[in-house]
Symmetry: none
Subunit: 208 residues, 4 copies
């Protein structure tokens, strides 16, 4: 992938002890990301992954115990990468609503750039439910943190809770699916994020 630091790889991939090994491991991970992204978990095959990586079939098992294991490693890698992308977008100080807008923009850009990530994380619901759940729970928790921070700062309502975070996360994810993954250019990340920002800012009721 090369989209951030290898996250929890240690938990699922056998750590190589030489440089050559490290290179092979990375080639496998990159190849798997493409393969799983294109074909989905079940249609993807180990032999196609190794072919793409330019290694022998058996080398796969030097680093992973099974097809599931590499998928899991990948999901965690990507889950981390998504987080990092969002975090990086939040460097500079901004108001609470601005922060949500920036996070969504970053997410939409990331999703458009790495459509396979979307697909892989989504498929984890069926292949590695634990990682899937963890991904969304972590993400939801991070949004909630920001909302509360905004509440403390007096910028957001004081009664925001987990359900608000999940509502926002769902919004973001579906906007990503619709405008970043399915229809790349139709609407820019900025436009979509502006609409969501506006919705969060004042709701959808007609102004009295």
């Amino acid at each position: 992938m090369g989209m951030g630091k290898p996250a929890h790889e240690a938990e699922t991939a056998k750590q190589p002890r030489t440089d050559r090994g490290r290179r092979t491991l990375r080639k496998l991970l990159d190849a798997a990301a493409i393969e799983f992204g294109e074909k989905g978990f079940h249609e993807a095959s180990i032999s196609a992954i190794t072919a793409r990586a330019g290694t022998a079939l058996g080398s796969f098992y030097t680093y992973f115990d099974s097809k599931d294991a590499i998928f899991q490693a990948l999901v965690r890698d990507m889950s981390e990468a998504v987080k990092v992308a969002a975090r990086d977008a939040l460097d500079e100080p901004a108001s609470a609503l601005e922060r949500e807008r920036m996070a969504l923009t970053a997410f939409l850009r990331f999703a458009a750039e790495h459509k396979e990530v979307y697909r892989i994380i989504d498929e984890a619901e069926f292949v590695d439910p634990e990682s899937y759940r963890r991904h969304y729970e972590t993400t939801g928790a991070r949004i909630l943190d920001r909302l509360r921070e905004g509440g403390r700062a007096g910028e957001l309502r004081g009664d925001l809770e987990e359900a608000h975070a999940w509502a926002i996360m769902g919004m973001n994810v579906f906007l990503g699916l619709r405008y970043a993954v399915w229809n790349g250019g139709e609407r820019s990340a900025d436009e979509v994020a502006a609409i969501a920002h506006d919705l969060l800012a004042r709701g959808i009721a007609a102004d009295r």
Copy 2:
């Protein structure tokens, strides 16, 4: 499933001519819903479905051309059932925001009641993308219709567009995942729907 009338079955299931045949077909569909819901598409097997249905393995192919075919039939069946559940909840006249609240409540109840539906529709993203896409596009379109109706009535803002509909749909789906599918009792459908309603009504910004 028994959750409404078989939707587009005609397109994918062979129509039985006898009553006995109709019964067998229904047994297969019901068994498949449980099997796919529990194990997911790839782990589910035709032989497990027929075993559950109490028919011979070969009988499956009297009614369906393939494993994909029955899955597709099921997804359409369920997509329709979800729509019907939402529509039924909208019988009585109500304000636009009330209608969204009622639709979400109905959806949350339905999802809690039929958790397997959730899973099956979600997995369609990988097994039968066309059905998946159609399901969400149709649902999104229906929400948008309601929003515009509300706009015309002066209850909602006049500038609402597709992205708003998708944002609301994403909210709903994730709240369903979190509070209906994962955690049944923790929070009632009414409570969750109230929170979402409130968010839509006035946004999350602090009151000035």
Copy 3:
């Protein structure tokens, strides 16, 4: 094998419900006996077995869960066949020592005729230890029964116990290995059995 009735097949092979199925099952068992006998368990392959049986590879799994399962079925089949061969030789009444001689003769003939049986049962020590153990424990118990019977009849010593039975069984097995399996014609079953009979009758000490 066709060397007696299928013994405990029920425990390891799936029972066919049609005649055609029964024929296929038998073909597989016969083919496996030859294959395992010739190549040993680990060198034998399922595909070689089905090729020999003239069935498709997949048909194997209609009747057996695994390579181990068919091996186990075979061992039990053969264990039973050996017993039957010995029992059949003991139809007519005879003195205790005569009975042992007759049992050994029958065993040697059987072993010469079915060398693969020897090999398969022996290999069970490593592939299916439980069956192996059961085979020899059952056989030893049967010998002990005969010895005690002889003791009660006053033909044999009254203090014979399990160890005597195992000593005799060991004698028989090794004589079978040496003269029936390794060297067919060198010495006839009758000659070998006569020597063993003589040893049992008076020991090997010089006559005083």
Copy 4:
């Protein structure tokens, strides 16, 4: 193993030139004895052997050409060790029947102490038939020598032949299997050897 001097190792193991090499070789042999003894030839793996020995996988091939080669080396090593154990027990002069008793006692003690030896030699029937055959032919020949010696001394019958030696060997082996390998403490080596001695001395017929 450390049960005597490496026997025919020269034929199958590459001779190390340094002291460090000799130590590595021994570690491999010892590890292999445990591994083969516990798991059997086919379930044992080179990598498990080297892991046990604490060496790198590749080092294995510095000393052995193949998995078969180390197994063969081991079988010969052990075959020799069994012989030595028996021979050591026969130091002091004794009557012919006493000598057999002592040899059996020694064998039973050895087998109880080194259960893996039993298993490894037995499995040689399938992995390295030549060694297996040689082991039993040599052992049988040695017993026959002793019997003839006893015959010449007038202590045993004068007509003893190879079949008697094999009968005795079979007795011993099965008593070892039953009382030394399977059931350690149930019956002492002395007791079992006494029973066998008695059988050889006067047979099992009732005293006239």
